[in-house]
């Protein structure tokens, strides 16, 4: 299904704080995103002016969860001028949205492992809500591990051992791979995705990875968000953000 050809206003219905993360709820009356798709988000006010004149471009943010009534949730973390502004938005104020864009994940199942790191846990939630599957989630510390509360079935690892397993989420993945999962869906920092890709290949388990890349437009115009694949550079917004691990170079 095509994305609506219109940048539009959307009210911020709710803003919830979850450790260092902020959950933003809005409503899209024109489109229903698929798991793994994303929107380009900006705030209607104080975007493109003010101190430092940043943020200027909208930010690509994956859909965390959708509801029957068109309500969409996004997970944000303040890591720069754009996400800071989005995190500051209060209920009742307006977002500007464009999307949904990207291919999204293919259908998973209860035997699918969902592997997420940090803010990358967001698109996995919709997968678990829709199709089930165990989530293996890695975080820096206990504060960030608050994000795991969103999931119904999750095993957690933290770098500092303050919650769950002390170490990397890939340690949890190694354990679960013994049980021969049917497939893997992963999203998180590049090092995590690299490690998942490596393990998927070694165990012969198909894996879909949701990538993140800075992008100016979200709809294939700027050519800024490319990733190297076995077929050359591909635009993350147009050919992704979800790629089969095997096609990534």
């Amino acid at each position: 299904m095509s994305a609506p050809l219109a940048r539009r206003s959307a009210p911020l219905l709710e803003r919830r704080v979850l450790g260092p993360y902020v959950v933003l709820s809005t409503i899209d009356r024109l489109a229903r995103p698929r798991p793994g798709q994303f929107y380009m988000l900006a705030t209607a006010e104080r975007w493109g002016g003010g101190e430092g004149e940043r943020p200027f471009l909208a930010r690509a943010v994956s859909v965390m969860r959708t509801h029957e009534d068109g309500v969409i949730e996004f997970l944000l973390e303040d890591v720069g001028p754009g996400t800071k502004r989005l995190c500051e938005l209060e209920a009742g104020q307006e977002l500007t949205i464009l999307g949904p864009f990207g291919n999204g994940f293919s259908a998973s199942g209860s035997e699918t492992l969902l592997v997420g790191g940090g803010i990358g846990i967001a698109p996995l939630l919709e997968l678990q809500d829709t199709w089930g599957g165990l989530a293996l989630l890695g975080f820096r510390d206990a504060e960030h591990a608050e994000g795991a509360r969103l999931f119904t079935d999750a095993v957690v690892a933290t770098d500092d051992g303050s919650v769950g397993h002390r170490g990397l989420v890939t340690d949890l993945l190694d354990r679960e791979l013994e049980r021969a999962p049917t497939s893997i869906r992963a999203c998180g920092p590049p090092a995590l995705l690299h490690a998942v890709k490596d393990r998927a290949r070694r165990h012969g388990v198909p894996a879909e990875l949701a990538l993140e890349a800075p992008m100016a437009c979200g709809f294939g115009a700027c050519y800024g968000c490319v990733v190297a694949t076995v077929d050359g550079y591909k635009r993350v917004c147009l050919d992704g953000p979800v790629f089969e691990a095997a096609v990534l170079a």
Partner: protein
């Protein structure tokens, strides 16, 4: 309807080359793109003789009120453009302008000759922001070299030839005059301004291609100055661009002497920016008339 180099256009707003991919947009937005195409003409990304992969990522850096890009002109080459892109682009409800770049006069000649044979192409835009292999300077930064290049390719086509000038030169008006003397039908400016960003971790230049080109509102007043100087110097029409975000910005470029206005970075933020700006621009004329 307005007329530009013998081509009828619905309004004065087109896209800047490399800032809108109509075929990608058709994949994303579907039929709506053809029904509500936002620009009065579609300018293709730069096409080169041979396929180019483009620069390694990262390719973007958001700067103060702008964007630095180092994309590196990825395209599948002339052959694929002629064979599969032109037939697909012919579905667009607006004239097709094809932007090309060659690293030698022979290459530019070959590109122009091939496009001359295609009725779907309404006009040809030459990207002359390509370094001359001998001097290292952009071909478009040397007025005499530009005149010689134009004189050579002018004979190869009856289609309107637009020269996309580089702003990274000491005297943009002299370059425009060189293009005019060589037989160009129009000039377009400004291309992006050379710029760089450093990696936040101090590891050196951020962009995979080293330096990049700055666009967006940050360059709008520079564009205004260059368009004004060029329009005062040449008699051929000028396509003005650089940081235009709204009808008022477009109106200023028209007042500085531009015949058409092109939208680049703003249509990354809003895919319908072209149509919105065209409406606002039309409104600005009505207001003055009153």
């Amino acid at each position: 309807m307005i007329e530009f180099c013998g081509i009828e256009l619905r309004h004065r707003v087109i896209n800047a080359s490399g800032c809108f991919d109509a075929l990608a947009a058709a994949r994303v937005f579907g039929e709506a793109l053809f029904e509500e195409f936002p620009f009065a003409a579609y300018v293709s990304k730069t096409i080169t003789l041979h396929a180019r992969e483009g620069n390694p990522p990262p390719r973007l850096w958001e700067s103060e009120a702008g964007l630095i890009n180092s994309i590196g002109l990825p395209n599948r080459g002339l052959g694929a453009y002629l064979e599969s892109d032109i037939p697909a682009l012919a579905r667009l409800p607006v004239p097709l302008f094809t932007n090309v770049m060659g690293s030698t006069a022979e290459e530019v000649g070959e590109l122009v000759e091939s496009l001359e044979e295609r009725p779907e192409v309404a006009a040809i835009e030459l990207n002359v922001s390509c370094p001359n292999v001998a001097t290292g300077l952009d071909i478009g930064a040397d007025p005499r070299g530009l005149e010689a290049l134009l004189a050579r390719v002018r004979a190869l086509t009856a289609k309107p030839l637009i020269v996309k000038l580089t702003p990274n030169t000491a005297d943009v008006a002299a370059c425009a005059a060189g293009a005019e003397a060589g037989g160009a039908d129009a000039v377009s400016l400004i291309n992006t301004l050379r710029a760089a960003a450093l990696a936040p971790d101090g590891s050196g230049l951020w962009l995979g291609g080293g330096s990049g080109g700055l666009s967006g509102p940050a360059i709008r007043t520079i564009a205004l100055a260059q368009v004004w100087r060029v329009a005062a110097r040449v008699a051929i029409p000028v396509i003005g661009m650089g940081g235009v975000c709204c009808g008022r910005d477009a109106r200023e470029l028209i007042d500085a002497g531009a015949a058409l206005v092109a939208i680049g970075t703003e249509s990354f933020r809003d895919p319908l920016a072209g149509a919105r700006i065209a409406r606002e621009l039309e409104g600005s004329f009505t207001q003055i008339a009153r």
